[in-house]
Amino acid sequence: MTIAEPIPNSLRNQPDERGHFGQFGGRYVAETLMPLVLDLEREYRAAQQDPAFAAQFDDLLEHYVGRPSPLYYAERLTEEVRKNAPAGKGAQIWFKRDELNHTGAHKINNCIGQILLAIRMGKTRIIAETGAGQHGVATATVCARFGLPCFIYMGAKDIERQQPNVFRMRLLGAEVIPVTSGAGTLKDAMNEGLRDWVANVHDTFYIIGTAAGPHPYPELVRDFQSVIGKEARAQMLSRINRLPNLLVAAIGGGSNAIGLFHPFLDDKDVAMLGIEAAGHGLNAEHAASLAGGRPGVLHGNKTYLLQDEDGQIAEAHSISAGLDYPGIGPEHSWLKEIGRVRYDSVTDKEALAAFQLLCRTEGIIPALEPAHAIAAVEREAKKMDRDQIILANLCGRGDKDIFTVAEALGTSI
């Protein structure tokens, strides 16, 4: 982590001092939490100025997480896509291999940063929410590493479909608390996390897993995840001395996407595509907040939300538990509105097909979350020239998803 001076006319200077990304973001929390959120911001500003904090963060990322993650040219996938592309078309497909991180996903980058902040603030108890369980596992991991008690809120429905991760969290010493309110998914787990926090403000740090929530969370999660884009940018330049033409990443809350995109925002020739989960399709149940929602306030920030005309929040659906959330990080809402990033969506079915395609062509079992990005990569690559480059974030590995995929394919294991 390095401290960047603001660049004039840069798209990388958000949020403003009140935590707003244009009309989005902010601090929409109960008064009980407000002093804590202000404290966290003060502590984060101090940490940003402290070379020891950056040194410890970088050291843990290198020796504990296993960074930098490789940048990989997916040659056989590229060839496979070219077979079905018009003549001369079929961009080169590259992956940022964040699935090779310790714990199997990008989530750990952010957890390392936040637990260091928690320790700086003298907090002695850690809570988190989790959807797919990747953030829960990453949080439980850093809690074990630093010896702090860990409580993970997880929707009852997600517990059922992500049993391997539930067991992992328990092995790591975390207590997994099932949430039965609402639909029993990520949104409900986040409500319960906030309720715990408000009742335990004196000793508890809430490690939010995505680039959402009250300011400064969207900013600090983005900054911790930006290691993805910073590495990828440097790796691209050193490997082939050019930047990619298009970046692609899957979006639930949007932390892996903002982590990849942010360091490239001022590179005018780099296009970006965020992929939301279209579930059963945009006319049916889905989790595509930008495509099917409108701005509103939930979980501490203003952002695009799936909701009805009265502002009641809708239930999201995706085969991927990690994308099953009716909102999106506020910086993505802003990037959509200013037109810097294009957003599109991929259905459960398309993601499943891409999941299998990557397994067969590259020997990589992706998580269902980046499988959405891979489906979009396939779609986009066919439209692009062969000398162009797509870089997608392979943000998680698929070990956790094999049961879900088996069931969807009608196989029992």
Binding site: R18, G26, R27, Y28, V29, A30, E31, T32, L33, M34, P35, L36, S181, G182, K187, N191, L194, R195, V198, A199, V201, H202, G296, V297, L298, H299, G300, L305, Q307, E309, D310, G311, Q312, I313
Partner: protein, 261 residues
Amino acid sequence: MTRLSFAFAKPHPALVTFITAGDGDTTANLDALVAGGADVIELGMPFTDPMADGPAIQEANIRSLNAGTKTADIFALAAAFRKRHPDTPLVLMGYANPMTIRGGDWFASECNKAGVDGVICVDIPPEEDPELGPALRNAGIDLIRLATPTTDATRLPTVLNGASGFLYYVSVAGITGLQVAAQTSIDEAVARLKAHTDLPIAVGFGVRTPEQAANIARVADGVVVGSAIVELVAKHGANAAGPVRDYVASLKQAIVAARKV
């Protein structure tokens, strides 16, 4: 004098009672609150994601939404209440999204038309005041702010800036209906708040028994009771009005007696 300031100018502390709109027979329950002696009524606007509420009010929200309650129904309940009870102040309490989804001006205007006196929004702190505060103040609706055990002396002026009607002291750091604050901490907090403001101070969260209400009434200008009433509505369903009235009357009696001691 507004209805709210009149309610807090009575010779006894104000009894502030809460129910969730659209949960059970709201019209009958509102009348029962008035009949039991409530001085101020908070009508909860149900929300799918009531992050600051404990199980009792969460479930009331779900019951109400499952029964099909829309924002328009809540304003209709409020307007009808205003016709039946011209003098009892009515405060809408809820979360930012249902209040701001059509814009703060729309919400303030609907409040005005329905005869609503004040608004409590759980998740719009002073830092996000532009979302709703200016619209309410322009429409002459009181924006009631919350102070909590974590609101220290340096922050309190921020909370008070733009607050009106009364100040709602949330006596426990937590969600509604569960923990009970120690009376000594309430005494200290009310004294601290009174040193900073002339607004009436109403104390809530976790208040259930007439004894607790009486203890708070000895130091504060108002006592807020919510979850305990909502639980009666849950238990008695469509026939909750009688038990609600009797319970509220027991609270009122204790509050009135408290100041005579």
